[in-house]
């Protein structure tokens, strides 16, 4: 479709060779399989679920001991700036869990603050009582719009608010 320019000889076309693409496909497939095996083997540990306390209560049997992001409103916070120990109650209006965290918290941390904590429930928990949520990371969601939800619609609203901000 194009005319060769003056002085440019078109290069000879590559020889048609019958070459099986099988070895490279097999090699690549094996590599991909290996990588997938490595990654998905650890996916159980590295996949984190975002839950509100009432969602966690429903799925407690499958989620117990797994890494989790738990979102809700902070209540009854007790913080000692000298030891950096923070404990508070995380609620979404219907279910409340105690949370334990060690680390500095700014003045921004107030009652009724929307927070997401990353961590897991302590191993010692038995039966229906999941124990204390041990947080490794605390993400404070700054917003003026938080209030303790009363209806399911308000719980969903809070969930969206907490999750979308991240």
């Amino acid at each position: 479709m194009t005319q060769p320019e003056r002085g440019v000889t078109p290069l000879p076309q590559a020889k048609r060779r019958r070459r099986s693409p099988l070895p490279s496909i097999l090699g690549g497939g094996a590599l991909l399989g290996l990588a997938a095996f490595l990654a998905f083997g650890s996916l159980g540990q590295s996949l984190e679920y975002f839950k509100t306390p009432s969602e966690y209560q429903l799925e407690q049997s499958t989620l117990a001991g797994k890494p989790l992001r738990l979102g809700g409103l902070a209540q009854a916070a007790e913080y000692d700036p000298q030891t950096l120990n923070l404990s508070f109650q995380l609620t979404d209006g219907s279910v409340t869990y105690p949370v334990q965290y060690t680390g500095a918290v700014s003045d921004m941390f107030q009652e009724g603050q929307g927070v997401v904590v990353r961590g897991r429930f302590s191993e010692s928990a038995q039966g229906a009582d999941p124990g204390v949520f041990q947080a490794d990371e605390l993400i404070v969601k700054h917003s003026e719009e938080y209030k303790v939800p009363e209806t399911q619609a308000e719980i969903d609203q809070l969930r969206d608010l907490l999750e979308s901000a991240e």
């Binding site: 320019e5 590599l31 990588a35 540990q45 590295s46 975002f50 680390g103 500095a104 918290v105």
Partner: protein, 669 residues
């Protein structure tokens, strides 16, 4: 279209100028595309020249448009929408300027401007061959897409109903550090630069001239783009280290991943085009790779702008994501259709790569890069896929997923990186290979033993240490052999002469040395990182991570755009000044500015996380990361290497004389 394209003469003059310039750029772009296609179809050089002029005009008008936006930002003209939404009068000048790429519309404008800049340089440097008009066509096609987006759905100039007295101000997270002025530009220079090799691949497919000329033409362009991409990614990591206050630089965030995927594919491409240059192989592979690499930059923008993945970096959504998705689909489908149409000409000449040859090592490395990129993409999209299945989003993929494959793949790449330059093209003899490999293995073994003796026990660290020594031994051996050969041929000279005689080869060696440093920095700073938090009381000693810390005072400083709280802390007698910045537009939200003392063997990183109102105490986090500076130093070395391999050889005759020597054929790049 017209409902989007609101051009109104009641607008401010700057907005009108910007919008009109975009409209003119669009017209010239369309005309240029038409001329370029005519030139491609007829082989007539005159319309190709008109297309080149049209590209220059597009560049001119886009520059005027960007200039108008910039003038509005600097002059705080809040009648321009983008300025009203993302700038404010009290910001310092540099913040006003960098606000140009601080939000969605402006960042697409920057992308467009850089693309037009690359296109105009391309019109000046491209060879007058039959690829040229089609390269212009592909560039203009890309340009038209971005002009279209900027002029319509992402226009920074659309009129405002009411003009505010002051703007909403820039995102405070982006004005907390000067690196935000540099990082996006570098990253975009990398992303946009990949458009040029992509345009060449399209041109080669359309003309059917898939022999090896196009890959030679794009080598430098790809290197430039790759260099900027590398700098962009690392500068982003450094920004994160300097401002986010957790002492890390990489978190496998979706947007970080979106810049890493094109980097992996571009690195693979840089190596695989050498196989085509040398051996006429991998023709199909190279076309696919560059189409995927360029498409992945657009994918990154799509992920970033559409809000379908959650990330700290993501801009708010809007219709832009959908449009980018459409563009991505056009690029991928167009690339697939063109490659399928030209499939008969994409066959390779000669024997397929032998496993024990340089091309074999390059091919294996390419597979590792491609698998790496695919896995990163999978991890990035996994939560979105789950959401598509389950209907609501409640999962995220943490770093362990990425580390599980990044560590073995990274080690595999280090292994191949050492052996690649050692192997000759075509085929290595088993015995001579073993002889060449022995010093490398010895160096690796010795390094691992020294590491063991020094008390290192982590298998990943020992493996990295061994592989780094093995790489350095290989490069040193090759350089030494080259020096000896030159001596034998009566061509004296030291290292600098050798470097100048084959800049491309030694540039690659330097880049590999830089990568070795970077790998050491990444591994040591990750594995041996220490982190402790505590509260310091005024004038009392406290012990953290074997250091003595003392708070000597706190103070508050007012700035034009907010205020800062500063804690003066002594660590083992050395003064540190850790800040917490507050911005007018962000209220009481604090942005940490850690105090970092850089050191060759490790950094001391101090960040304040809480202040007592009375100034009696502060809560701090102290992080110590060994060798973390080697990441930045290694990147600098990689850039030196990239620069060197762009240089033309100084004395080509000497080079010929050397490569005609019997052993040199194996050693030349």
């Amino acid at each position: 279209m017209l409902s989007w394209y609101s051009l109104s003469f009641s607008q401010s003059p700057l907005a009108l100028l910007g919008q009109l310039s975009l409209l003119l750029a669009l017209l010239f772009g369309l005309g240029g595309l038409w001329q370029a296609v005519v030139a491609g179809r007829t082989g007539d050089p005159r319309p190709a020249q008109s297309a080149a002029h049209a590209i220059a005009a597009v560049f001119g008008f886009v520059t005027i448009s960007v200039g108008a936006l910039l003038a509005a930002m600097i002059g705080s003209d809040f009648s321009v929408r983008y300025v009203a939404e993302h700038s404010m009068a009290s910001s310092p000048l540099w913040i006003k300027i960098t606000g140009l790429w601080g939000a969605l519309e402006g960042s697409i404008m920057l992308w467009l401007w850089l693309l037009s800049l690359y296109a105009v340089i391309l019109t000046r440097t491209a060879c007058k061959d039959s690829l040229r008009p089609w390269v212009f066509s592909a560039m203009l096609f890309n340009l038209l897409f971005f002009i279209g987006v900027c002029a319509t759905i992402a226009s920074p100039f659309t009129p405002l109903a009411t003009i505010p007295t002051d703007g909403a101000g820039p995102n405070p997270a982006l004005q907390n550090h000067w690196m935000m002025a540099v990082h996006p530009v570098l990253l975009y220079l990398g992303f946009v630069g990949l458009a040029v090799p992509f345009a060449y691949a399209v041109a080669a497919l359309i003309t059917g001239r898939l022999s090896d000329h196009w890959v030679s033409a794009v080598r430098r362009w790809t290197l430039v783009a790759w260099g900027f991409l590398t700098l962009g990614i690392v500068s982003g990591g450094w920004w994160s280290y300097e401002t986010l206050g957790w002492g890390g630089y990489w978190a496998w965030d979706p947007v970080e991943n979106a810049s890493f995927i094109p980097w992996l594919l571009a690195t693979a491409f840089l190596h695989s085009i050498q196989i085509q240059e040398r051996r006429g192989q991998m023709r199909g592979w190279n076309v696919w790779l560059i189409v995927l690499a360029y498409a992945s930059t657009v994918l990154g923008t799509f992920l970033n702008r559409s809000g379908i993945v959650q990330s700290v970096h993501a801009f708010a959504g809007g219709p832009v994501g959908g449009v980018f998705f459409g563009f991505l689909a056009v690029l991928l489908l167009g690339g697939i259709a063109l490659a399928a149409w030209r499939a008969p000409r994409l066959r390779d000449s000669g024997e397929p790569p032998h496993a024990l040859s340089r091309e074999g090592a390059f091919l294996a490395g390419n597979w590792l890069f491609v698998v790496f990129a695919f896995m990163v993409l999978l991890g990035t999209l996994f939560p979105t896929l789950i959401e598509a299945v389950q209907g609501h989003r409640d999962t995220s993929v943490g770093p362990p997923f990425y580390n599980a494959f990044a560590v073995p793949l990274g080690l595999g790449l280090l292994l191949l990186m050492g052996i690649g330059p050692l192997l000759p093209w075509r085929r290595a003899e088993g015995q001579s290979l073993w002889r060449a490999l022995r010093p490398l293995l010895i160096a690796g073994g010795v390094a691992a033993l020294i590491g063991l003796a020094a008390g290192l026990r982590h298998p990943g660290v020992l493996a990295t240490l061994a592989l780094c020594a093995y790489n350095l031994a290989g490069l040193a051996g090759l350089t030494w052999r080259h020096l000896q050969e030159r001596r034998a041929a009566g061509l004296g000279g030291g290292l600098s002469t050798v470097f100048a005689s084959q800049p491309r080869r030694y540039g690659a060696y330097l880049a590999h040395i830089g990568l070795v440093m970077l790998a050491l920095g990444v591994v040591f700073s990750t594995v041996y990182r220490q982190d402790q938090q505590a509260t310091l009381n005024l004038n009392q000693q406290a012990s953290l991570l074997h250091e003595q810390l003392e708070l000597t005072g706190t103070r508050s400083v007012n700035r034009s755009d907010g205020h800062s709280l500063i804690a003066d802390i002594r660590i083992d007698g050395q003064p540190y000044e850790a800040r917490m910045n507050f911005y007018q537009q962000a209220g009481s939200m604090a942005f940490p500015a850690p105090a970092v003392r850089y050191g060759l063997w490790g950094d001391t990183y101090l960040v304040v996380s809480a202040f007592d109102e009375g100034g009696q105490w502060v809560s701090v986090r102290l992080v110590e990361s060994p060798l973390i500076a080697w990441i930045w130093l290694g990147t600098a070395v990689m850039m030196l290497g990239t620069g060197l391999s762009l240089v033309s050889p100084r004395r080509p005759r000497l080079q010929e004389a050397v490569s005609s020597l019997p052993h040199a054929a194996a050693a030349t790049d």
